[in-house]
């Protein structure tokens, strides 16, 4: 039996999310339908029109000095990467064959804004000498690369809410091309602050269900009114099948392919017909050697915005045709909120677990499916799925479309 050269497999998972501090507790929370959305308690909240968000369930368990020199977005990436690395069995790998690819949509914005206050209030001598490495968008990738001595390349795709998925796609390319044997890949975001919240609110992108946080994120529902801003990180250890086999690693799934496209339509609004997203889905299938009827489950991008969810449904119909009728679709953002640049990475973790456990967590808060959403969205009860291919969509401001394809 011959095998495609450089097949890429998933051998480790890590995550810290608004639902749980690690993969196991997050997954258990999703299956139990637990929402990570809550009323924010910061003192600046009252001046904003949006009072809700999805902060981490568990504060990052790092030492004081680490916390002082790493922005929160770097801390979360490190927490998820450590879990994924341990989960992969702390692989013995030549540092020159190890890559780190960690995306972030916004980077160290908490440091940027906090240190600007320091500059204005106390002067330049009080600005932290760590401020530049903490605010740079490649900070999370650099942190993970240093922590695990990744010398094959450290990369930080920046494509807004598609960043985490694009990082995984980039890592797949590296491994397929033979530029590394293992890649630590994912996304991180920590941007719950008055300025990003105010900005997203000005775009009319956020839910204003301030009085009912747990029901605010309602993808595909008729009553959806925007996304809920969350924070977190997700990391996968990706490895060539050959390397994984040689070290006897436990294999969760195969990262069979990925597709990337761009709308070039509007900086923030989705192309209404979903043509760009459909091209990413088709490209992912092609990259994976799959056909539409192979697909059993899709973890949708579906952030709970009125325009975005409809455009994605149209994209999926355009890409999969009649085969879409038997595909179980969910949006875990109904519980996690929208983790921006980490979303695609934590949802890749959820896809791998859905594939492995043949179970899809139900989309919560789906009381009445929007008439324009022609999808089989699993709601109320989790659903068993047959074995097959699983897709994860991620789209970002800037018109970025990414689709990842996993198989057993």
């Amino acid at each position: 039996m011959t095998e495609t050269p450089r097949q890429v497999v998933v051998t480790g998972l890590g995550a810290t999310t608004p639902v749980g501090g690690d993969v196991a507790s997050t997954w258990e929370g999703l299956l139990a339908g637990r929402s990570g959305v809550r009323r924010l308690t910061e003192d600046w909240v009252e001046q904003l029109p949006v009072h809700i968000g999805a902060p981490l369930a568990v504060e990052p368990p790092l030492g004081r000095v680490e916390a002082r020199t790493l922005d929160r977005v770097q801390q979360l990436a490190l927490v998820a990467a450590r879990e994924a690395w341990a989960d992969a069995g702390t692989p013995d790998v030549d540092p020159e064959r190890l890559a780190a690819v960690i995306g972030s949509g916004i980077g160290g914005v908490l440091t940027l804004l906090g240190q600007y206050d320091v500059l204005r209030e106390r002067g330049p001598r009080r600005v932290s000498p760590h401020v530049v490495p903490m605010l740079m968008p490649n900070g999370p990738a650099a942190t993970v690369g240093l922590a695990f001595t990744a010398r094959a390349g450290v990369h930080a795709p920046v494509s807004a809410c598609a960043s985490g998925a694009e990082a995984i796609s980039h890592a797949l390319d590296m491994l397929r091309a033979g530029r590394a044997d293992i890649a630590i890949a994912g996304g991180s975001e920590a941007a719950i602050h008055a300025l990003p919240l105010a900005g997203f609110a000005q775009m009319q992108a956020l839910s204003r269900r301030n009085d009912a946080p747990a029901t605010a994120s309602r993808p595909f529902d008729k009553g959806r009114d925007g996304f809920v801003l969350g924070e977190g990180a997700g990391v996968l250890v990706l490895e060539t099948a050959e390397h994984a086999r040689a070290r006897g690693a436990r294999v969760y799934a195969t990262l069979a392919g990925s597709g990337i496209s761009a709308d070039a339509y509007h900086v923030a609004a989705p192309e209404p017909g979903g043509a760009g997203a459909a091209r990413a889905v088709r490209a992912a299938l092609r990259s994976a050697g799959l056909v539409p009827t192979d697909v059993v489950h899709i973890n949708a991008h579906a952030t709970s915005t009125p325009a975005g969810d409809v455009a994605e449904a149209r994209a999926l119909r355009a890409a999969l045709g009649a085969a879409l009728d038997t595909v179980t679709v969910t949006s875990t953002k109904s519980m996690t909120g929208h983790l921006l640049g980490a979303a695609g990475a934590v949802e890749a973790v959820f896809c791998v677990l859905a594939l492995r456990e043949r179970t899809v967590p139900a989309t919560r808060n789906l009381d009445a499916l929007d008439d324009e959403i022609d999808l089989d969205v699993v709601s109320i009860d989790n659903r068993a799925i047959p074995t097959g291919a699983v897709l994860s969509n991620s789209f970002g401001f800037g018109g970025h479309d990414v689709c990842l394809a996993f198989t057993p």
């Binding site: 030492g63 000095v65 002082r68 020199t69 001598r125 000498p129 760590h130 490495p133």
Partner: protein
């Protein structure tokens, strides 16, 4: 201020900024090689020391402060001069 008071104050700063065990912060230790205080954290140590001891430590003088003892002597002299 006595050398031992300055040493104790500096040890507290090193613990806060770089996680150095105060028992390790003795006069003979070098910041970089012995205490693993990198060049960025060293800037934080200097700024905190300026604030704590009410002295000025110009950037061009920081390079000459190799050991904890160097810093203690510098701060003592600068304090007297001030």
């Amino acid at each position: 201020m006595s050398q031992s008071d300055i040493l104790a104050g500096l040890a507290a700063i090193l613990e806060e900024v770089a996680g150095v065990d105060p028992a390790d912060a003795t006069a003979d230790k070098t910041f970089i090689d012995d205490l693993d205080v990198d060049s960025l954290s060293m800037v934080e140590v200097v700024v905190a020391a300026e604030e704590k001891f009410g002295v000025k430590i110009p950037d061009e003088d920081v390079k000459s402060l190799k050991t904890v003892g160097d810093a203690v002597s510098y701060i003592q002299r600068a304090g007297v001069a001030a």
